[in-house]
């Protein structure tokens, strides 16, 4: 039997010119990975990306909304500034008790855009529109909207 885990869901009737997603995960890492996938799969046909270049992203923030926002914004930055697009992402998120800061470390793997990458649409920005990250009975959920 093939088990399909749905990690994000497009919300059709919100911000119709753009793309609003609900994200799900058993852990914060899974939740942020769902955000990574939603962003990449909005931008390109991910199966056309080769794993050639690796980047490390580290961030810290007092709240999880800002941490998710910052993580996705960094991926958009790398798309425009370094023309990079990613296929894989390994994440670690921790709460540092001494500082009450959430820290994120992500290893993302992908390549520079070329004609073999099949593109879809450009994500211009992450928005604060209805942005939330919260724990539920099954783990974690979040909502994020991309400006296209």
């Amino acid at each position: 039997m093939v088990v399909v885990i749905i990690s994000y869901r497009l919300i059709e009737d919100i911000a119709i010119a753009d793309a609003c997603f609900d994200l799900f995960g058993n852990s914060l890492e899974e939740l942020f990975h769902a955000g990574f996938l939603a962003l990449m799969e909005t931008s390109v046909e991910v199966h056309t990306i080769k794993e050639i270049i690796e980047k490390n992203i580290t961030l810290e923030h007092q709240n999880l909304e800002q941490l998710l926002f910052g993580f996705l914004e960094e991926l958009i930055f790398l798309k425009d500034a370094e023309f990079l697009i990613f296929k894989k992402c390994e994440l670690s998120i921790n709460l540092i008790p001494e500082t009450s800061l959430y820290t994120l470390s992500a290893n993302v793997t992908g390549q520079e855009f070329n004609d073999e990458v099949s593109t879809i649409t450009d994500v211009k920005a992450i928005t604060f529109y209805q942005l939330f990250v919260r724990q539920n009975e099954n783990g974690w959920e979040a909502r994020v909207t991309f400006d296209l």
Partner: protein, 488 residues
């Protein structure tokens, strides 16, 4: 007890094209709201538009009405198609009232070619333009810039392009503000924004951005059309629709976040929606955003200017004549995501206001300051891009717009269907075949992206045009239909 009133129930019909939500309604508004649109448009307006424009009406220093244009649809912060003017001393400036793609806009270029001359070579022409104009996600620009040159682009806009061979001297005056907002200051732009923009000059981007070869289908006002360079049915023209790319997107994100962190604590401005962030226009932060936004706007003008120079080059290659000989003149360049300081007569007094236009076009009427002398007698050209399938319009600004809508009008068709629904309804390659059967040759960086822009995903542009013409926000001059399109 009766059913709970929806926001729309507070609206009062003023005339065939206008509804108003009065300030006194029990919605906590600081100013009244005006909704433009004929009955068909009004009926279809989504609830988000009403709630968002009411949120706008609560911002400090709003002058007159907060408004939505007939192509309005749900955005964030302001609705797309939102217009609001704020007092230059007591008001605010809002990144959410301008949009992420600062100075997204459209320009129109004439030719003296006819459809009979162009149609046989349309594939060759579109393929050549597709090769010359980088389009789609992850494409590098065609103009390498040093950081000093990038600064000059951001502070001088179109003028930099002319000085560097991307255009003609006469292009300069046929752009809003001559293609340069003089408030621009590169020093208040983040390093991140600079890094995102430096390699993107001359790129189309994606989404609904395009370069389209069109033909004149109908002329409504031959005299005005002639002044604007549109002389005959079947004349070929070109439209370019794009903005300030990652540079503007990052500037919007940077300041939106900064304002959001300070709105309640520093300026005592309530946050009605996180994207509706704003700063007092006279604060240091507000002034810095104005300077950075102006830099992005200049990049937007320059981006379209560079692309236009590629369009001229492409036509020269295919038709073996110079662009001058083909009279490839710029009609006008309009911005539809921008804020500018302008002067209006309000209650008999002249007032300086910051007009925010988010998905709305300036529509200055005859004899307005700030429009080129050749258009003084007829009003500025207003360019409305329709969907790829349905066509676009050239209109003229009106005196009524100066009185009633802070010199503003609609900017396009306005979406009614989400991108994913459009993709479920049609595949990109099927749409391309259908368009080709209708005589429109398309090159798209992405077939999925093409499907998202299908004509059925947009409002009927004729309803939008009927609304703005009927409300006298703009006067229709000519209808243009596509024969070829490059989509990012």
């Amino acid at each position: 007890m009766g059913a709970k009133m929806s926001v729309k129930d507070h609206a009062v019909k003023i005339d065939e094209y206008t509804h108003e939500i009065p300030k006194k309604s029990d919605l906590g508004m600081n100013a009244p709201v005006k909704i433009y649109g004929n009955p068909s448009i009004y009926k279809m307006l989504d609830r988000g538009v009403f709630q968002q424009i009411i949120n706008v009406s609560k911002l400090p220093g709003l002058v007159g009405h907060a408004m939505t244009m007939p192509d309005a649809h749900w955005g964030y912060g302001f609705p797309i198609g939102g217009v609001a003017a704020f007092d230059v001393n007591k008001g605010v400036i809002s990144p959410g009232g301008i949009g992420f793609d600062i100075n997204c806009g459209i320009r129109m270029i004439t030719t003296n070619l006819t459809v009979a001359e162009v149609k046989p070579k349309i594939r060759e022409l579109i393929n050549t333009l597709y090769d010359l104009i980088p389009a789609g996600v992850g494409k590098k620009g065609s103009v390498p810039l040093s950081m000093q040159q990038f600064r000059d682009v951001a502070e001088k806009g179109t003028e930099w392009c002319i000085e560097n061979g991307y255009g003609w001297d006469e292009d300069l005056e046929k752009q809003e503000n001559n293609g340069c907002l003089t408030a621009a200051d590169f020093s208040v732009v983040s390093d991140k924004a600079k890094s995102r923009g430096i390699k993107q000059l001359g790129t189309l981007g994606s989404g609904n951005h395009y370069c389209e070869v069109q033909t004149v289908n109908q002329i409504f006002d031959p005299d005005t059309a002639k002044i604007m360079g549109v002389r005959d049915k079947d004349q070929v023209v070109v439209m370019v629709h794009c903005g300030s790319r990652g540079f503007g997107h990052q500037i919007a994100s940077d300041y939106l976040r900064e304002f959001l962190n300070k709105m309640e604590t520093k300026w005592n401005i309530p946050i009605y929606e996180k994207e509706l962030s704003a700063a007092p226009i006279n604060s240091k932060e507000g002034q810095n955003y104005l300077k950075a936004m102006s830099a992005a706007a200049n990049f937007g003008f320059a981006n379209r200017q560079v692309i236009m120079s590629h369009v001229r080059k492409g036509f020269e290659q295919i038709f073996g004549r110079t662009a001058e000989d083909m009279e490839m003149n710029l009609v006008y360049d309009v911005a539809h995501n921008i804020a500018k300081q302008e002067e209006y007569l309000i209650d008999g007094k002249s007032r300086q206001v910051i007009v925010h236009r988010k998905g709305a076009t300036r529509s200055f009427g005859p004899n307005s300051k700030d429009i080129p002398s050749i258009y003084k007698s007829v009003g500025q050209p207003v360019i409305l891009g329709g969907s790829m399938e349905t066509g676009s319009y050239l209109l003229a600004g009106t005196e009524a717009a100066m009185r009633n809508s802070f010199g503003s009008t609609a900017h396009g068709s306005g979406r009614t269907m989400s991108r994913s629904k459009a993709k479920k309804k049609i595949k990109g390659h099927v749409l391309r075949s259908q368009m080709e059967a209708k005589g429109i040759y398309v090159r798209a960086a992405s077939m999925a992206g093409l499907a998202e822009e299908a004509g059925f995903a947009y409002k009927n542009i004729n309803d939008v045009i009927d609304s703005i013409h009927g409300a006298d926000l703009s006067r229709k001059i000519a209808q243009l239909v596509p024969i070829g399109n490059i989509k990012g």
